[in-house]
Symmetry: C2
Subunit: 379 residues, 2 copies
């Protein structure tokens, strides 16, 4: 039997880390990349050059692979249907991907399944948003139904004027308007799932966001066992509801001691990068095992605490890659670097550390991240 070949739509850092896990397991990968400069295309032997928006490129990729998976969910649903029609195996499937990118559909499905979501309504006009706000109070959160990520496509509106400004930005768009939730914490649950329904659930993590972008992750989240069990239960229920294959990330809010589902991603996720060193089986390995329908691996932590700090491009360090040796000098700092050019705000890498407590691990992870991105200490 030759090595199984997993195709990956997209060649960002998630594809790169999938490639690293695949290589160890004897799995070959082919990444669909716009150019050989993209993160995963720099390191992977199998590269198909083309756009994820181009059906021909997707078909070329799929024909080289046993199964196709995704570094991001933003693929044209008609193209996914065409791939499936030609007999290619897509994991996760088009139905799961559609729920992951369609916030309106997510809210409908989760509410119908009895899963906890913020108060919400569909809105296509500013007046509907204002009406919702009058019922639930200002401010409200307005989200483009499709296409947002890392805080893009999300607006907080405190008045009818601000709503009009948002609605003008996307004339003809479909929005979800939601109550503004006062956050106590943000949590994430990662669930790996096989086609038959077997799941492996990771320890619940706390994510620390700034401007809608994840900056730090602490595993396990410092929450009570009851809340953690509830979060895992919701995670498993969401995975079953959307029929995910491979990794699914479920982001949740804690408000007033209760959990509300924020959003989901049907792929390996920034909130799970800690698992490379922090868990017996990483989210990347379990994603591959899930999409290949192999037995899933143990998700237990290998240390009392594992933390991850993201590294972003900034104006102060023109070439942060040159600081990697300095970052590695921090004891126990696992530096991951994606090979991307530095631009302000762009995720360039991350640092994971393990320790007896989250605080102890965070101190070291932040010190290493600081070498690469001096903003990291300005907290």
């Amino acid at each position: 039997m030759p090595a199984p070949v997993v195709g990956i739509v997209g060649a960002g850092q998630l594809a790169r880390m999938l490639h690293e896990a695949a290589s160890a397991l004897g799995i070959n990968t082919v990444v669909l990349a716009n150019s050989h400069d993209e993160s995963a295309a720099q390191v992977a032997a199998g590269v198909e050059i083309g756009s994820p928006d181009d059906l021909d490129a997707l078909l070329r990729l799929a024909r080289r692979c046993d199964v196709v998976t995704f570094d991001h969910e933003l693929v044209n649903p008609e193209h996914l249907a065409a791939l499936a029609d030609e007999g290619h195996v897509l994991r996760p499937g088009p139905g799961t991907l559609e729920v992951a990118v369609n916030k309106l559909e997510q809210r409908r499905r989760f509410e119908a399944a009895g899963l906890p979501v913020p108060a919400w309504a569909k809105a296509t006009q500013a007046v509907e948003i204002t009406r919702f706000a009058e019922r639930h109070g200002w401010p409200v959160v307005v989200k483009a139904s499709r296409g947002g990520y890392d805080g893009r496509g999300v607006w907080i509106c405190a008045s009818p004027d601000e709503v009009t400004a948002v609605a003008r930005m996307d004339a003809g768009g479909v929005f979800v308007v939601e109550e503004f939730v006062v956050l106590e914490q943000e949590l994430a649950v990662l669930v790996a799932r096989r086609p038959g329904g077997e799941t492996a659930v990771y320890p619940v993590v706390e994510t620390v966001q700034r401007d809608g972008v994840c900056h730090e992750v602490v595993a396990p989240a410092l929450i009570g066992e009851e809340l953690a069990a509830k979060a895992r239960q919701i995670g498993e229920a969401v995975a079953a509801e959307v029929g995910s294959t491979g990794n699914l990330a479920i982001e949740m809010f804690v408000t007033d001691g209760k959990l509300l589902i924020n959003e989901i991603a049907a792929r390996p996720h920034n909130a799970g990068h800690f698992s490379i060193e922090g868990c017996v089986t990483s989210q990347f390995e379990n994603h591959l095992r899930g999409v290949l329908d192999w037995p899933l691996g143990d998700t237990a932590l290998v240390a009392p605490a594992a933390v991850m700090v993201n590294v972003f491009g900034n104006g102060k360090v023109a070439e942060p890659a040159g600081k990697i040796p300095e970052a590695t000098a921090v004891s126990g700092a696992h530096v991951h670097w994606y090979g991307k050019g530095s631009r302000p705000g762009r995720k360039l890498g991350h640092v994971t550390t393990l320790g007896p407590t989250a605080d102890e691990a965070l101190a070291r992870a932040r010190a290493a991240a600081f070498a690469l991105d001096p903003r990291e200490m300005g907290r």
Copy 2:
């Protein structure tokens, strides 16, 4: 600063695992491979096709890289000199590689440095071997001075007739003849070293050999702290003596409670594969950090015990890769597969497990290896 580029002479599994570690750290690799089918060439974006015996191929590789390192030491010393003459950075350097491949030179150097070696003599004729045996007793161990590995090029001779047979095999060859050492245990010490002399020493491991080939590794070795400290001390002294850069493996015998140096390898080594999951920093990462002159990482174990079991090709399972899912079903089994075609006796992969004790970890690692190679249980 663009990513540093590390060239690797050879494209076997050591190069493949170096590539995996390099990718995580933002280091690009170029491997020198005879074909795209070789283990590392299947997965790495940077491949230079050519023979390690061909100076032009070595030069093409070196010109694409910041530093050149090695998956094996069997490179023509004149070619190494030519690379150095053209200004390429070789790490480890030619002097270290020469000691690693030349058993006679090793014995001379280590003895001169006061390091413990078995009783030995140089021999170019059968009569010299016989004379040595008359002084030290039969049997004796005869080794080709250059080129042996995994038990090849090593003979145990119990009589003058057997010596004659060996000597005929390599007419004109240079041999080392050594006393036959009754082994209590075989140990290995891995030492990562930077050009300036900084070292990081791994916990001493026990290697279990069959027919001169490593089958299992147990970390830490179940030996007293005094013997372990002595082994680490010898390892560091050998690294300094040969001026190694990157990883150096020192294999030792325990006989009569004392240590004797068996042989060395100037590269990542099978005895250190456990470190991928078993240590804070793997031997592959520390090899890269050493050859790039970066700070070395912590070598501490992350669990009380880490064990590794090799998987070999055999006649019973034609396509062992098809059994990988079964092997991964064993809890906590980290399966590493090299993508090589199966031939009897060929190393195809390995399994690492961590546990509270070596016995507990070994039971699981052997169960996973058994799925891939049923011979593994026939112990």
